[in-house]
Subunit: 264 residues, 2 copies
Amino acid sequence: MIILKVGGGKKINWDYIAQDLKKIREEFVIVHGANAWMKEISERLGESEKMIISPSGQISRYTNEKTMDILTMVYSGLVNKKIVVSLQKYGINAIGLSGADGRVWLAKRKDAILSFQNGKTKIIRDSLTGKVVSINTQLILQLVENGYVPVITIPAITPDGELINVDNDRAIAVMAKDLKIDEIIMLFEAPGLLTDPNDEDTLIKEVKRSELEDYFKKTEKRMRKKILGVKEAFDNGVKKIYFGDGRIPFPVSSALNGNGTIFS
Amino acid sequence: MIILKVGGGKKINWDYIAQDLKKIREEFVIVHGANAWMKEISERLGESEKMIISPSGQISRYTNEKTMDILTMVYSGLVNKKIVVSLQKYGINAIGLSGADGRVWLAKRKDAILSFQNGKTKIIRDSLTGKVVSINTQLILQLVENGYVPVITIPAITPDGELINVDNDRAIAVMAKDLKIDEIIMLFEAPGLLTDPNDEDTLIKEVKRSELEDYFKKTEKRMRKKILGVKEAFDNGVKKIYFGDGRIPFPVSSALNGNGTIFS
């Protein structure tokens, strides 16, 4: 079984992904983002997104109740179902789930998060943010064994039944551990990890596990979180992680064939 | 197994429903609406809802692509997940699904629908509207056997992988047939079927199957569609249908005990 994580940009081509998955003889669990839609719908609803930067430079979404409503609509509704139909169109029997459904992503809420702004550190207590701590592997395996492709996204759920925003990239590290997964593919709107994020010709073809710390320090924002996810996935027993381009034909095969970045 | 259909009003008390379900020793499949939220979010997005009235008096939602996006967000995202967490909070392992997930509600799109307005009949061809024709019973039974409570809502999906708006009340009649279900409970924001829809003291305690045609002619709008759903459910082998109040404590037991309207 392979975990396929796909970013939430609008240039991701789900027709290409579906056509490719249909041909590959392998079981997949899909995790996806929805950033671009989240930004658009938030603006249309007059609720601009607020980001929190931690003292260590981690970026995350400030998620109060209003934001959680929009996030739930956009991620587990609009985008999740758009992906489900894209896959169904090519005969892949996709089932969309939020982390709350069947407690597939059980999470712990953070009591407080630190925000670093204008040289000052602030404590934020009302953000519905947390971390996935365990996976309902029984549900995922049961669906996969019956020929379904689970398509999973935020929010996650706490044991008390509260919806919680978690980081998708770090959630897949926990999934990999609980499902004993060897390989993860991450597709986004770039050919892979780039030396210069603004120049697609600066693709890094290979990264050794020992070099990860260096890359973590060098990268910024979302890519930094992806590198953190990669680190955690390795710590959780994953052997190989592929970064690849979600905009091109045969994006999954292409990543597996080493046309993006291979972490090993 | 019982199908529990719950209306989409904001006065429906999901805590009461969850507490009640937790105590009843029976398997449930839940179907829900989200009308009140649909109206609110549509307005906030500047897309007012348009209704179509057929020449025979049926009312339905005009569903173009924009409406479908909002419908998908609100029904299968926001409200579906709110219900899932309400149930999870009381230890009911709910899994929210749209009709598209695992093709649980496979539908046929209508080529055209008739709209009757200002004395004229118009043909509408771009409404993503249809009818559920079959149910993925294997998926529902597999989930229920493993202790999950499926929580299902629109949209449905066509064989070509298109999202389609269908009538929830009529979809449950097809579910009842395919799942060989004897009993359906329908909860909404009223004590049951009323002689005068504006007077909650005019509850009709019992309706015989032979009287349905009369009631169909007498009722209007949404209630008329519910009566149509009841008729179709009886045609599909259902033995008893309960209408009950979704706002009160123990709403499910209360309906089963005959405190609403019993159709038999």
